[in-house]
């Protein structure tokens, strides 16, 4: 009988080998197919059933955390946003119904502990089953964000504040905003109702105006026009322009008028200081088709690669090579009107480029990833995005922007003991609507650290609103906070 028993034994070994082969197929070979199968809800559940990392601001305020709950649902953790509407448009939310947005989306792997570096540091944990989750540290500051919210008050608009040395976003707030907490509720009906309410609100609180809405920049765009004109040798700071009230446009019976029907001109510096439209309209015409590649070097036409999802929208200018067929468009582009439409983030990046001797860094709202034990895993290092212009041109434009704040339209942005470089913008929007109020600035002018862009939609409803009156004071307050000036 022994021979038969041994044969049966060999049969058992063969069957076990078949099982091992099939197990290898299921766990290794076919695993990804099975994981992607639409019937497979495990990925969703496993994300819901493991803690998710915290998101904290640079100054230590908790923006997002996961709380362990037992609320009778399949979910073990509830996502919470203690700062409510303050960071909704940058940090976003992670919902099992509506998906995820913002930093919650772009840094999902870090928050779940799936970042390679997190895994490498925790190889022993793979076998022990211990969970490693990452903490996402924002470059954004809660105090700056709160100040922006407070300064905008009931006015719709945006404030973007950048650290020009790192490309880190310190504040990026748009009014109105919304509270993401109901979106992530485990009560589906409640979540759905809150979501519908926000989506159908005519003020679009879910729209991150700072990086996903385009506005005419008005005169704040003269920073770009001046830089391109200086860089291309079309003008020098001392070039003179005729003093006049309006500019006759080619190919058209229209004219381009100065603000308030004033008469202005003279040197480029003088024209920039008082924001003379006729001079910059003329520069737009003189630049012609060179203007489009010139503004492209500032990033117009490209989406800034900010680490938020969905990302920033690209800002736009006149169509390339269209000068011959539509010359007035280039005159209006010179003063930031017509075909030019930009995001507040883009204008902050323009200010940063001039502040940085022409170099624009990739903007980012996250500065670091840390592990459970607060150990640094990854730092988001400064990396250049665009070379907008030369240091010489940047220096010349800085001088002009200093004049704007000291003697021109932007005196409201003055800060005691700090030289501020800035430019106002009062952009025509729609007929019978107040213009958009803009201010772009950086400080200190001699050794720039921070750049800011402020947009107040329709001047906050005031028909008399100008960038200098409405936006410049907000920019000054923001700069004072981060410069530590009382």
């Amino acid at each position: 009988m022994n021979r038969a028993i041994r044969r049966v034994g060999i049969g058992v070994v063969a069957l076990v080998l078949i099982l091992v082969l099939q197990l290898t197929y299921l766990t290794i070979v076919d695993a990804n197919n099975l994981k992607r199968n639409p019937h497979n809800v495990r990925a969703l559940l496993s994300n819901a059933n493991r803690p998710r990392g915290n998101i904290v601001t640079a100054d230590g305020t908790l923006v997002a955390q996961s709380q362990k709950v037992s609320d009778g649902t399949v979910f073990k953790y509830l996502r919470e946003y203690p700062t409510k509407d303050l960071f909704a448009q940058t940090v976003g939310y992670q919902s099992f119904v509506f998906g995820s947005t913002g930093v919650e989306n772009t840094y999902n792997n870090a928050l779940l502990g799936r970042e390679n570096q997190l895994n490498l540091n925790n190889i022993p944990d793979i076998f022990s089953g211990k969970q490693t989750i990452g903490t996402v540290v924002l470059s954004m500051r809660a105090d700056a964000q709160r100040l922006a919210q407070q300064l905008l008050g009931f006015q719709r608009g945006s404030v973007v504040l950048l650290d020009v040395k790192t490309g880190g976003v310190l504040a990026m707030y748009s009014n109105p905003s919304y509270d993401p907490n109901p979106f992530v509720s485990h009560n589906n009906q409640l979540a759905q109702a809150a979501f519908t309410a926000v989506q159908s609100n005519p003020d679009h609180p879910a729209l991150p105006r700072a990086y996903r809405e385009r506005y005419p920049p008005g005169s704040s765009f003269k920073t770009v026009t001046a830089s391109v004109a200086l860089g291309d040798g079309v003008a020098t700071p001392s070039s003179t322009f005729p003093v006049r009230t309006q500019l006759q446009l080619p190919q058209s019976s229209n004219t381009l008028k100065n603000f308030g029907g004033e008469s202005c001109g003279g040197t480029l510096v003088a024209s920039f200081t008082v924001s003379c439209n006729t001079t910059f309209g003329q520069l737009g015409l003189q630049l012609g088709d060179q203007f489009v590649p010139g503004m492209a070097k500032f990033g117009i036409g490209q989406a800034p690669p900010v680490d938020i999802s969905p990302g920033a929208v690209p800002s736009v200018g006149p169509p390339a090579g269209s000068f011959a067929s539509n010359q007035p468009l280039f005159a209006f582009a010179g003063i930031g009107q017509g075909a030019v439409a930009v995001t507040p983030l883009q204008m902050a990046l323009v200010a940063e480029g001039i502040a940085n001797g022409g170099v624009i860094l990739q903007p980012h709202v996250v500065s670091e990833i840390r592990d459970n034990n607060d150990k640094l895993i990854r730092r988001i290092d400064p990396s250049p995005w665009m070379t907008a212009t030369t240091p010489q041109v940047a220096q010349a434009v800085t001088q002009m922007m200093v004049q704007v704040v000291q003697n021109g339209t932007g005196t409201a942005a003055q800060i005691n003991g700090v030289t501020v470089a800035g430019k106002t913008g009062t952009a025509q929007s729609a007929p019978n609507q107040a213009p958009h109020a803009w201010f772009v600035a950086f400080a200190p002018a001699e050794a720039p650290r921070f750049a800011v862009a402020v947009l107040v939609e329709h001047g906050g409803g005031n028909l008399e609103a100008t960038g200098g009156r409405v936006a410049a004071p907000i920019a000054a307050q923001m700069l004072k906070l981060v410069l530590g000036v009382k």
Partner: protein, 440 residues
């Protein structure tokens, strides 16, 4: 007989058992840590209980079967420990019941060693065991006693305790088959009737066996326990082959099996369902194939190293603690854990066949083969079922699945194997005379 081999065997058993207890305790610790980051207060209780139960079994072996194989008991302890950890992770209430059944099973293990002094004494009562086996199979059909759970009438309820007598019936029937085949194997092997090239035995020699086998299978089919029917079918065929060493029986068994499978497929809707979901589970992912599809997702989620104990979603699989316990292991311990379980089972089965090969007595040989084959077939049928190697039939994974009757039966099988192993070591100079004495 020297003293030292015995001591070293039992020493190895104790050492390995200690390792098994440590594995179980660590597994329990991980499961608890996954829920809250504190070392559970009852960790030492669990560790002490596992170690205590193992020590009890170990002392029983030391006293009652000192020369028995040394790996069987630690492997059973390891599998039982891992099973407890998995069941407790899935449902802490089931975990407590499983722990109680483990204690009862180990007691049964000790009692089996106490009462079965020599396996050959069992040989004498073959028809009693056949009768007991039939009764055990019929019990669930008895009105008042029987209970239907999950569509199969396999249970007998006495008070709060539900018992599946089918598990015990398998052991009784193996005993009968072994004893009967030892008597008739020569006539069966020589054959009587020639049909074409095939030589078949006289019906009167094979008759009682076929009757027992057929009736058992009919009863199981009546209870819609097709997994057990399949195992019994294969078991009987394999024992017939081992007893006679005639491949013809295997051919006949396979032919009979296929015929039975086709008939079952035609007759029973649930057999058709099982085959359909085996061929294309994803087509029925939301209904008939849900369990199997979830099981496959579990293995995929586990990958190589698993999600970690307590960190997967094995509860996505209905009935995960009984039929699908291996999928839970696959999800949380990964391919590594699955292969470890398979190696442990292979060592257990290998040791069982080794005991069979080393037995001098034909009855012991065949009995050990049968007992080992129960564990082997049962493991293959359920693991193959949940991994889609074969159509799914609900049977328990030996020592691991939740279920008291199955645990009890497996520990009794283990005791019987150790008894045979101990007999082997003592040699049986009286073997021949013993058999003549028993002849009528």
């Amino acid at each position: 007989m020297s003293f030292s081999p015995t001591t070293s065997r039992r020493g190895a058993e104790l050492g390995l058992g200690l390792l098994a207890a440590i594995v179980a305790a660590f597994g329990y610790l991980l499961v608890q840590l996954a829920q809250k980051p504190d070392v559970p207060a009852d960790l030492w209780v669990i560790f002490a209980a596992v170690l205590g139960l193992f020590t009890l079994a170990h002392i029983a072996v030391r006293r009652l079967a000192p020369d028995a194989n040394q790996v069987l008991l630690p492997i059973a302890a390891l599998l039982n420990g891992l099973g407890f950890v998995t069941v407790a992770r899935l449902d802490s209430n089931l975990g407590r019941i499983q722990a109680a059944w483990t204690a009862v099973s180990i007691l049964a293990f000790v009692l089996t060693l106490v009462f079965v002094k020599r396996v050959r004494t069992l040989e004498r009562y073959r028809y009693t065991f056949l009768f007991l086996g039939m009764i055990a199979l019929l019990l669930p059909l008895a009105p008042g006693l029987g209970k239907t759970i999950n569509g199969a009438r396999l249970w007998v309820g006495v008070g709060p305790v539900n018992f599946q007598p089918g598990e015990a019936a398998k052991v009784f029937l193996v005993l009968f088959f072994a004893a009967y085949l030892v008597d008739k194997r020569e006539v069966l092997a020589s054959g009587g009737r020639r049909i074409g090239r095939m030589v078949l035995p006289e019906p009167r020699h094979l008759g009682p066996l076929m009757l027992a086998w057929g009736v058992s299978i009919l009863i199981m089919v009546r209870e819609t326990d097709l997994g057990q029917a399949m195992i019994l079918f294969a078991l009987c065929g394999l024992m017939l082959y081992v007893a006679t060493e005639r491949a013809a029986y295997t051919v006949v068994s396979v032919a009979l099996f296929l015929t039975a499978a086709v008939i079952a497929y035609q007759l029973f809707g649930h057999v058709q369902t099982r085959v359909q979901t085996w061929i294309d589970p994803f087509k029925y992912a939301n209904d008939k194939g849900y369990q199997l599809v979830q099981s496959l997702f579990g293995f995929a989620a586990g990958g190589f190293a698993g999600t970690g104990l307590g960190l997967g979603s094995p509860k996505q699989i209905p009935n995960v603690a009984t039929d699908f316990v291996f999928s839970a292991i696959g999800e949380e311990l990964g391919l590594l854990g699955c292969v470890a379980v398979l190696i442990a089972l292979l060592l257990l089965i290998g040791s069982g066949y080794q005991i069979a090969v080393r037995s001098e007595r034909p009855f012991s040989k065949l009995f050990a083969t049968g007992l080992t084959t129960i564990i082997g077939l049962q493991s293959f049928v359920i693991i193959g079922g949940v991994t889609r190697v074969i159509p799914l039939t609900g049977v328990t994974l030996p020592f691991i699945s939740y279920g008291g009757s199955s645990l009890l039966a497996n520990w009794v099988i283990l005791a019987l194997l150790l008894r045979i192993s101990d007999d082997n070591a003592h040699g049986t100079p009286v073997g021949g005379s013993q058999r003549t004495a028993r002849a009528p």
